[in-house]
Symmetry: C2
Amino acid sequence: MTVTFAQGFEAAGVEAGISAVEGKKDLALVVNRGPLEVGAGVFTTNRFCAAPVQWSRKVVADGRVDAVILNSGGANACTGQAGYDQSAATAAKVAELLGTDPDRIAVCSTGLIGELLPLDKVLAGAEAAYAKIAADEDAGQDAAHAIMTTDTRPKTVERESEAGFRVGGMVKGSGMIAPQLATMLCVITTDAVVTAGQCQAALARGVDVTFNRIDVDGCMSTNDTVLLLASGASGVEPDPDEFNAMVADCCASLSRQIVGDGEGSSHTIRITVSGAVSVDAALACGRAVASSNLLKCAISGNDPNWGRIVSSLGIVPADVAPYDPDDVTVDVNGVRICDGGKPGVDRSEVDMTPREIDIDIDLNAGEAEATVWTDDLTHEYVHINADYES
Amino acid sequence: MTVTFAQGFEAAGVEAGISAVEGKKDLALVVNRGPLEVGAGVFTTNRFCAAPVQWSRKVVADGRVDAVILNSGGANACTGQAGYDQSAATAAKVAELLGTDPDRIAVCSTGLIGELLPLDKVLAGAEAAYAKIAADEDAGQDAAHAIMTTDTRPKTVERESEAGFRVGGMVKGSGMIAPQLATMLCVITTDAVVTAGQCQAALARGVDVTFNRIDVDGCMSTNDTVLLLASGASGVEPDPDEFNAMVADCCASLSRQIVGDGEGSSHTIRITVSGAVSVDAALACGRAVASSNLLKCAISGNDPNWGRIVSSLGIVPADVAPYDPDDVTVDVNGVRICDGGKPGVDRSEVDMTPREIDIDIDLNAGEAEATVWTDDLTHEYVHINADYES
């Protein structure tokens, strides 16, 4: 059901001819029919942020978003003033169709960096999408398909509270995925009666423990955008804690789907670091392990190579994560193969056949813990990224 | 000529049966016959440093090293007290053969982390190597072969000053290569008349601008060791600047050979960042680019994908490297494909056929520059590291 699961939203996904892939839907439109038109967003911190990010950051600043237009087939990043003008023109076209102001229209783009979009196709696509928008499931699925790039499947979520409000969403992303967002575009919608401040707070909290803790390849994108739109159409004012939890839960589901579809991956790797002096210390350790190409290759070869786990842990400075290497234990899929910094159970005892590989690291230095997710590194990842739009 | 190029050194490389590779030389011995027995070293900063690193760090602390014994086929890392005892026993055996103290014998190991060495084979190998040591070129080459792991060729260097002293060396390393050393063992020898303090200073300076600026896969090893031994056998007291320059030049040559033999690589990538406010800022930018898996895949596909260059630059925080994205230029193999943060010359103009790819980034923010080296990321890298000793 995706972005149309919550009441008050319409969507469409069409083939606008932007993508080089024949027959691929490449333009999505999500319209908030109200009665509220509340919006909030979290964006990439990359200093080379794309034109649509620069545009949309201004749009969400006042907390009102009437619609979002998203395209695959081109990132419109590193395109200078001409690129910014394209994002503005795209917003203006949607605003004209909706009878609203351009500064209430968010714009998202994904694809190759460094090339302008075929603007005439984008504008014609906006008209085609507007002509097709609907509130049904097919419309939401079309939108989710239209934002895909190297994704092998659409990624969507829906949740309904007992109090009667709904949250739904869609995301794209499978490469250039790093902590601190990812190469991803995400739109979450809700029909709860909430303010822009509530939305921004819920989104920031949710993103921090989900999208900011996944890492496919350590590469941060220029275009990452996560938007939360609220229509108020359910008439339900949610309990704040319940609302926050539902938004976070949607972010968690969508971020897990990204890792589960990481480019060319054969294993999803969950890394939990416990016994840390702080969550930041646990995160630093988890991210160091998650970014090890050597470990990710070993996992793709079904080798629970714990030497590559501890050698990655060892690069985290002691002032960031104090621990004694001689106290560290590492379990892979429940088998303690490193015990007190030394060999434990023989690694041949580890069953590496499941898709999900669980790495549990106990630093034995404190009470805090954190979990990060990544994928293994395969021949297929190299193939996709050596040959992608080259 | 390698470590035996300088007068006063003898070496050997033998097959001790430590490596799983049939017929491979896996144990090397380098003996300083004096009249000086000066030694200095630089070691990994990995907190899970291997037993031989713990041992050798103590050996070089007093500036005297009579010999170095090195093995491939096992890293003796994360092996606890038993591993440390193996390094100590290995040093004791060499000391016994030479008639000196164990605390004058440096020990280096490389291979799989987390397993003890077959100590009896190491000790027998030490005896066999001692029986064969010689000062000729073959002996030096045998030693260089014996320390190889996934290296496809031995890596050696020799330099002779007009003043009549010599510097030579050998290194191994092709994977788990990161800034801040690399998975590498390096022994450099000189017959100059120098103090341990001069050696330590020359080595620290040389390593900082060479071995610490290469990055094959961003993974820092537990075993990295660079040793400089001086025999004084030439009788020449070198000009300090010339000595420093020659040591740095040897480090540069050996580090370049590592990158040139990076696991499975098809391109060597030189990244020079100029126009930075400081060398540290330039280095931070260069390392961010060098660590991008996406860029490294693109290069392996002969795609000068500058979007992946600037998106990597963009993750460096502004307080680390101040610059304006709209001022940045990127040249690949001499073609300015990104000009002022926007597309420049069409990337189809770039000739990607050479082995070496030159990426020149000008931040236009200052006067400082720095160069780092890396390799592309290929199917072969994944194959080597998915299947290596699994």
